[in-house]
Symmetry: C2
Subunit: 398 residues, 2 copies
C-alpha cells in the first residue's frame, strides 16, 4: 500500500453512481484524437458550418448594448424573445405553440436529464426504440428505469407494436423520428400519424427528440408529431446541429403542466442556461438567418453522405449492408452476424480508422454485428480512404 | 369541464417531481420586478461590477482566433487551461491541487446537483448547517435525502456538535464557511481546522461551498478547508460573484475517485459546460485580472453593507437584532419571536420593500422570525429608504 492509498478517502456513492460506466463513444473519441486517425466515430458537426463571424458580431452587439442583462442571472424558463421565436417557428401546419410551453435547456442532453428527473422512478418502464440514442440511455439510466424495447424495421419504430402488453405501466416513450442516432432512419408520415394518435390515447408522454430534423437533404421535411398532437407530444430541439454545439442551447416544448415541473427541476439543476449564449442564439437567428444557413449545411452533409455511400459500394464485401439516409449525420451498417464490431474496432484503430460499435445503442439484447458511421466531420477524399481501410479489414473476415 | 381540460394529458410524475415546490425566493423575485419596489431579496451581484468591456474584447478575440474550438463540443471535464488556472490558484498554503481534480460546472448550482446525484440515495442522511443555503436544499432534495441539521451559533457551524450519534450513516456534510447564504456568517480559523480534521476521519466528504470567499471586506481571507485537508474536502467555487453570474461557470475540486464519478454524471446531465463561456472566463482571468478587479467589488459591497448596518441601527425597534458581516452579500435579521417574517413580507411588499423570509433556509424546525437582507443590488440612498420602511412596519408590530 503506497502513500496515496493511505490517504484516499473511502466514500460511499449512490446506487445510481455505482452503476455508472463511461460511454463507449467517449473512450473511443479519446483514442481517435490522434490526427492520423480517420474518425467516423464522432457526431461532431463540421466546424466550417459554424457561423463564427455572425456570432462575433452578435456577441459584440449584446455586450455593448445590454451587458447588464446578458451577464446577470436570468429566468429559469429562458430568454423570453428566444422562447417566443421557438414557439412561432413551431406554430405551423395548424398547430399553435405558446411561449409558455417552451423551456430553454443547456443543450438537448439536459432536456433528457430533466425529463428523466421528472418522469422516471426506479423500475419505471421506459419505452425506447431498438436501437436508440446512447445519450438518452445515459441520462435516463441515472433514474434507474426498466427499459422496454419497441420493435423497429428499416423505417424506424413500428407503431402497431405498441400493444397494451408492451406499454403497460410505461412512464414515457422516447423516439427520434428524423434521421435517428444511430441508424439514420426517418419515420414515414403514416407512422408519425399513427404514433401521434397513440400519444393522444396514452397515459404517458411521447418524446419526439429532433436534433437532425432540419438536415433533410431534399429540403422536404416531414411534419413533426408535435404539429399533429401538440398537447400530447414533448418535442426536443437544439441549435447544436444548425448553429454550433459549443453554445449548448436546446429547448423542450411541452404541455404547461409538465413544463412547470421541468422548470422547477431545472431551477434545482443549474438555475438557468447562460443568459449570454441564449442571447447570442436569438440575435443570430431572429431575422431568418437559418433559412439561408441551413441549406448550406444540408448540401455539405448530403455530398459527404453520397461520398460515403459510394465508398461503401466500392469497398465493402458481400454480406455487409447499410441504409441510405435521406438526411442527418449517420449511416448504420450491419455486418455478417459472426463479426463483433467491438472487436473489429480494435483492429480498425490499429489501421487508423474509427467508428462506433452498435451494441451500446441497444437497451438490451444488443446486436453486436452493427456499427454507426458519421460522415459529417471528414472530407470526401478522407472518407474514401477510411472506408477503403475498413473494407480491407472486413474482406479478411467474411 | 372545458375544452382544455378534456385535452390536458394526465401524466404520472416521478416521486421526486411530485414533491417539488417552487422556491419562495423565486416567487418573491417575480413580485419584486416592479421598479418601484426596493428589493433586498435578490442575491443578484451589482451589474456595475461586471467587466463587460473585457468580456467583449475576450469574446471577440476567441471568435476571431479559435472559432472552431470555441463553438464545438468539448471535453466533459472542462477547458483544460481553465482547469489548470483553478488548480494553480488553489495550490497555496502548502496544498497541491491537480488539474485532474477540477471539473468545470454550469454554475455552482450544477455542482450541487451532481454531488446529490453521485452521493445521495433515498433516505440517506445529509448533514447541513442550521440554517443552510436554500439552493442546496433544492438540489439535494431531488435525490430524496433525510436532512440532519448541525447546530450553529453566531460563528457558524459548531464542529464539536458533530458527534457519532449526529453523523451516523451520513453521506455528505454541506457547509458554506465564508459569509454564508443566508446568515453572512464566517467560520473562524479554529473551527475550520476542527472541521478539516473531522473530514480527515469521516467516511463521507465534507463540501466547502465557497461562492463568496473572495468578498471579505478587509481583504484578509481565511485559509480554505481545502488547503488544510486537500484529499478530504470537496471545494465548490464560482465566477458568478467575482465576474458575472450570467455566464454560469463554476467548478468542483474533488479527489480523483469522486471527480471521475462526477464527470460521468455530468456527461449524462449536459455533456459539458458551454465551450465558449469557459474560454471567455479563462481569457479574462488568465493574466491576473481578478487581483485588481475583486478589490473594487469588495469596496462597493463593504460600503453598501455599512450603509445598511447604519440604517438598521437608525430605524429598527428594540427586539430586532442582526449580525455585522465581515464580507459577502447578506445580513441575517432576527425579529421578536412572535413575528412571522413570511406574513411580514406581504405587508412589506405592499409598502414596496422586499426581503427573503428565513424559514425556507431551514431543513426542518424553521425559525419563522428570521429574514435575509441583501445589500448588493441597491444603492446606499435606496438602502436607507427601504430599511426605513421596514423599520416603520416593525415598530408597529413589536
Amino acid at each position: 500500500m503506497d502513500q496515496s492509498d493511505l490517504h484516499a478517502p473511502k466514500w460511499q456513492f449512490s446506487e445510481r453512481a455505482r452503476k455508472l460506466t463511461s460511454s463507449a463513444i467517449r473512450e473511443i473519441l479519446k483514442v481517435t484524437e490522434r490526427p492520423e486517425v480517420i474518425s467516423f466515430a464522432g457526431g461532431l458537426p463540421a466546424p466550417v458550418t459554424f457561423p463564427a463571424e455572425r456570432m462575433r458580431e452578435a456577441s459584440d452587439r449584446i455586450l455593448r448594448d445590454t451587458p447588464g442583462a446578458a451577464l446577470q442571472y436570468s429566468a429559469t424558463e429562458g430568454y423570453l424573445p428566444l422562447r417566443e421565436w421557438v414557439a412561432t417557428r413551431y406554430s405551423v401546419n395548424g398547430a399553435q405553440i405558446r411561449p409558455s410551453q417552451v423551456l430553454i435547456t443547456t443543450g438537448s442532453q439536459q432536456a433528457l436529464d430533466l425529463l428523466g428527473k421528472v418522469l422516471i422512478c426506479p423500475e419505471s418502464p421506459v419505452l425506447v426504440e431498438t436501437p436508440t440514442y446512447l445519450g438518452a440511455l445515459q441520462s435516463f439510466s441515472m433514474y434507474e428505469p426498466r427499459y422496454v424495447q419497441v420493435p423497429t424495421d428499416d423505417n424506424g419504430l413500428i407503431p402497431a407494436a405498441l400493444t397494451p402488453e408492451l406499454t403497460a405501466g410505461a412512464r414515457v416513450l422516447y423516439a427520434q423520428p428524423n434521421f435517428q442516432n444511430p441508424t439514420g432512419r426517418r419515420l414515414p408520415i403514416e407512422r408519425r400519424r399513427a404514433l401521434a394518435a397513440f400519444a393522444q390515447g396514452a397515459p404517458f408522454p411521447v418524446i419526439e427528440d429532433d436534433p437532425y430534423g432540419a438536415l433533410d437533404y431534399a429540403g422536404e421535411p416531414l411534419p413533426t408529431m408535435l404539429s399533429m398532437a401538440p398537447d400530447h407530444i414533448v418535442h426536443l430541439g437544439s441549435f447544436s446541429k444548425v448553429l454550433a454545439p459549443g453554445l449548448r442551447v436546446g429547448y423542450i416544448i411541452a404541455p404547461e403542466e409538465l413544463h412547470f415541473k421541468l422548470v422547477q427541476a431545472k431551477q434545482a439543476t443549474d438555475l438557468h442556461t447562460p443568459s449570454f449564449t441564449q442571447r447570442i442564439v436569438h440575435e443570430v437567428v431572429k431575422d431568418g438567418f437559418l433559412d439561408t444557413h441551413v441549406p448550406t449545411i444540408r448540401t455539405l452533409y448530403r455530398d459527404q453522405c453520397t461520398a460515403m455511400l459510394a465508398a461503401l459500394e466500392r469497398y465493402m464485401p458481400e454480406g455487409v449492408s447499410w441504409n441510405k439516409p435521406e438526411g442527418g449525420m449517420f449511416i448504420w451498417v450491419t455486418l455478417p452476424a459472426h463479426i463483433d464490431s467491438m472487436k473489429l474496432l480494435d483492429e480498425a484503430v490499429a489501421q487508423n480508422v474509427a467508428f462506433v460499435p452498435g451494441a451500446p445503442f441497444f437497451a438490451s439484447d444488443a446486436q453486436h454485428h452493427t456499427l454507426r458511421l458519421s460522415f459529417v466531420t471528414v472530407p470526401p477524399a478522407k472518407i474514401d480512404e477510411g472506408i477503403a481501410r475498413l473494407g480491407a479489414l472486413l474482406r479478411a473476415r467474411v
